[in-house]
């Protein structure tokens, strides 16, 4: 167990380092610099001074070391676009928003998906099953931005059920969260249905029937756990996709989250902000995957926690 945790920790650190380094060189290779607009027409001396302020005059390798040293000590550096703000401050302000959106979407996806999946499996090959699965195909196919726009038009413009946009109250999180979660709910629903049907066809379910257990007891105690396994292993990739999906949702609903900041910073070449966000997102993702793997070994007694797998 300890070896497992330790092995995972090393691979997590390596992964984050790899992503951060790759991002560092990618964004640095991109033409342009953070001050292109600000210093248009400024004298070379001013530009040089500005560059020196952010160590941009040093060779790339040294800049990389300076930045990496900062990351290790938890300092992601100053923003190059937002005057006098550090990246840590920016992340501290926007991160809770993104986390709220992401977790709402995640919870919606899991609850909605597993519920409909179990129902469809139990009502296999009935109109209920066909209906739910048709909706699921729509959910998987429809891009979230189209869903979100539909949601806005129907629920906000026509029914006026939700506030338009922004991020003042937490009721604002519901509609974006739902729009973000639907494709994943659909996917989880299909995974649950298939897993459930497979498990319900197993011999040990017949044994459980022979013991005199009720349908409900069988589903909850004997089938659900096995049926959850494919869902659990999908949660890792789903979380990554939800994080990236939030970029679009944040744009549509004007939510000041980390995703919006990231896209803006990438276009503005606000190097430190871009890299800071990447580091934060990768760490979050690695941590989440670690938790998922850990829970997998608890869910399935046949899987022994060996390092890495």
């Amino acid at each position: 167990m300890i070896r497992f945790v330790f092995g995972r920790l090393i691979s997590v650190i390596l992964t984050i380092w790899f992503v951060a380094t790759l991002s560092f060189f990618l964004i640095r290779l991109a033409p342009g610099n953070p001050f292109a607009n600000e210093l248009r027409g400024a004298t070379p001396e001013v530009t040089e001074a500005k560059k020196r302020e952010y160590h941009l005059d040093l060779p790339l390798r040294e800049q990389y070391w300076i930045w990496l040293r900062g990351v290790v000590t938890g300092d992601l550096g100053p923003s190059m676009k937002y005057r006098g703000k550090t990246v840590n401050e920016i992340i501290r302000q926007t991160f809770p928003t993104s986390i709220a959106l992401g977790s709402v979407a995640m919870v919606f996806a899991v609850v909605l998906g597993m519920m409909t999946g179990v129902i469809a499996a139990l009502k296999k090959n009935t109109p209920i099953d066909y209906g739910l699965m048709a909706v699921a195909v729509f959910g998987i196919s429809l891009p979230s931005f189209i869903l979100a726009t539909l949601g806005i038009v129907v629920l906000v413009f026509w029914a006026r059920l939700f506030p338009l946009a922004g991020w003042e109250t937490y009721s604002n999180v519901l509609l974006p969260g739902l729009a973000l979660s639907l494709p994943f709910a659909a996917k989880i629903s299909r995974l649950t249905r298939v897993g459930m049907i497979e498990i319900l066809g197993e011999d040990f379910i017949r044994t459980a029937h022979a013991k005199g257990l009720s349908e409900r007891q069988i589903v909850i105690k004997h089938a659900l756990r096995g049926a959850m396994l494919p869902v659990v292993s999908y949660l890792g990739p789903a979380f990554a996709l939800i994080l990236t999906g939030s970029l679009v949702i944040e744009k549509i609903f004007f939510i000041p989250g980390l995703g919006t900041i990231f896209v803006q910073a990438a276009t503005n070449r606000d190097y430190n902000v871009v890299l800071g966000t990447v580091v934060v997102f990768s760490s979050l993702l690695c941590f989440f995957n670690f938790v998922v793997d850990l829970s997998y070994t608890f869910l399935d007694p046949r899987v022994k926690p060996v390092s890495g797998r």
Binding site: V19, L29, A30, L142, I146, G236, F262, T267, S282, L285
Partner: protein, 441 residues
């Protein structure tokens, strides 16, 4: 002792046994290839005639293909036991019958092929007609069919934000460009990204998974460890960074190209000094950017970038299949009777691999189209004046407001995108159910 004698039944020839099925499948591939060719050779006059020929041939093939699929009898011929023993059952033929019985999949196939036909036709005609007629794009009269319905780049200041009319079937956008032409063009881009991206991702994924699965042991462990790690990466963030880099290079390159053109113009006018002055302003970096983008246009980078990040699942599926196939009785039996490795691989493993690979490829196309739409929506995919369904929907979203809803800007591209994604998903699901009937039950 008596055995029940079955009457010989006359059976309709199954369509996959049709003598033309191979040429038609080949021309389907040519159909796709011809569009890639058109996009690359669009401005070369010598290529027009052959490309046009292939294109016409392939279009007719596509229509025949749909037609033949629709003529597959809905009821598979009842096979008596003796018949089964006599000829064996072709798994593929059975699968096709099941696919044909799946109305959603068949309907999707027809709609999707028609949609692709329309999109690719606009794509081809947009490039080909000016070459054939020997006219510049701008030289077409503003009420000609070409200008109205095929040219997605023609702006018209007098006709901005026109709702759908008899002239502009899908309305016009903020620059007065015809949305019908733009939707079709966006479709070609989206489909091409989907198809080429899938080819990239399937090639990488299948080779990676097959190697890992076939060699097993240490090799397998390390290769799959890498896949596991890559799974944990926020890939789209990297793609966004790549796109930032590529778009930045593209901007530099286009301004550099402009300078080159100015210098050439000055040279032509006899003003060598001015030309040299302009040329000397161009930095080596700008030159590099200009050359790099010549070889790697941003759209290609979109294909490759998305394809390169979506091969992981394919690799896992292939590895799992190969691992289990390797140990299956029929492979062990083949090995036991002394079959050589190539025979085992091509006769026993590859055919059994085809099913999952085909199914998963079909499901990868919509996924990649979705990623492209997503990138374009964020503003990092395809750049103006080109467009894809994602970038059109992004423009459309800007038009959705309470005061003056320019609904058509959103509705048509979004509907086309959703329709294709539904279609591809239904076909993928249908194929999976057809190839692996157990999975549906």
């Amino acid at each position: 002792m008596s055995i029940a004698v079955t009457k010989p039944t006359t059976r309709r020839r199954a369509w996959v046994e049709h003598p033309l099925s191979l040429p038609i499948n080949v021309s389907m591939v040519l159909w796709i290839l011809s569009f890639i060719a058109v996009s690359l050779l669009a401005n070369a006059p010598w290529a027009v005639t052959p490309v046009m020929f292939v294109w016409l041939l392939a279009n007719s093939a596509a229509i025949v293909y749909v037609g033949m699929h629709l003529t597959v009898p809905l009821d598979a011929p009842r096979k008596s036991e003796s018949e089964v023993v006599a000829e064996g059952t072709s798994l593929f033929r059975d699968a096709m019958y099941r696919l044909r019985r799946n109305q959603m999949a068949t309907g999707s196939m027809v709609i999707l092929l028609l949609l692709m036909l329309a999109c690719f036709s606009q794509f081809a005609l947009f490039h080909l007609i000016p070459v054939i007629k020997g006219k510049d794009r701008a030289a077409f009269a503003s009420d000609s069919f070409y200008a109205l319905h095929l040219d997605h780049t023609r702006t018209n200041e007098g006709e901005t934000y026109e709702p759908p009319t008899a002239q502009h079937w899908f309305g016009t956008d903020s620059l007065g460009r015809d949305l019908f032409a733009r939707t079709l063009f966006g479709g070609s881009v989206s489909f091409l990204v989907g198809i080429v991206g899938t080819v990239v991702s399937v090639s990488v994924g299948v080779s990676w998974g097959a190697v890992a699965g076939y060699f097993g042991g240490r090799v397998d462990e390390w290769m799959m460890r890498i896949v596991d790690i890559l799974y944990g990466l926020p890939f789209l963030f990297l793609v966004i960074l790549i796109m930032t880099l590529v778009n930045g290079l593209g901007n530099v390159a286009s301004s550099t190209d402009q300078k080159f053109a100015e210098a050439a113009a000055a040279e032509k006018a006899g003003d060598t000094d001015k030309a040299n002055a302009i040329l000397s302003e161009i930095t080596p970096d700008q030159r590099t950017a200009s050359i790099v983008t010549k070889f790697m246009p941003p759209i290609v980078v979109v294909f490759v970038a998305i394809g390169l990040v979506s091969w992981l699942t394919m690799a896992r599926i292939t590895r799992g299949q190969v691992l289990s196939l390797k140990e299956r009785e029929f492979v062990v039996a083949a090995r036991a009777i002394g079959a050589r490795a190539p025979r085992i691989i091509f006769r026993h493993i590859v055919p059994n691999l085809m099913g999952p690979v085909i199914v998963y490829s079909t499901l990868t196309i919509p996924e990649i189209m979705l990623s492209e739409a997503f990138l374009s929506f964020v503003g990092l995919g395809i750049s103006e004046p080109n467009c894809s369904w994602g970038s059109l929907a992004s423009e459309g979203l800007a038009g959705v407001n309470i005061i003056k809803p320019y609904w058509w800007l959103m509705v048509y591209p979004a509907a086309a995108l959703s329709l294709s994604l539904f279609g591809l998903n239904f076909i993928g699901d249908g194929l999976r159910d057809a190839l692996d009937p157990r999975s549906a039950k």
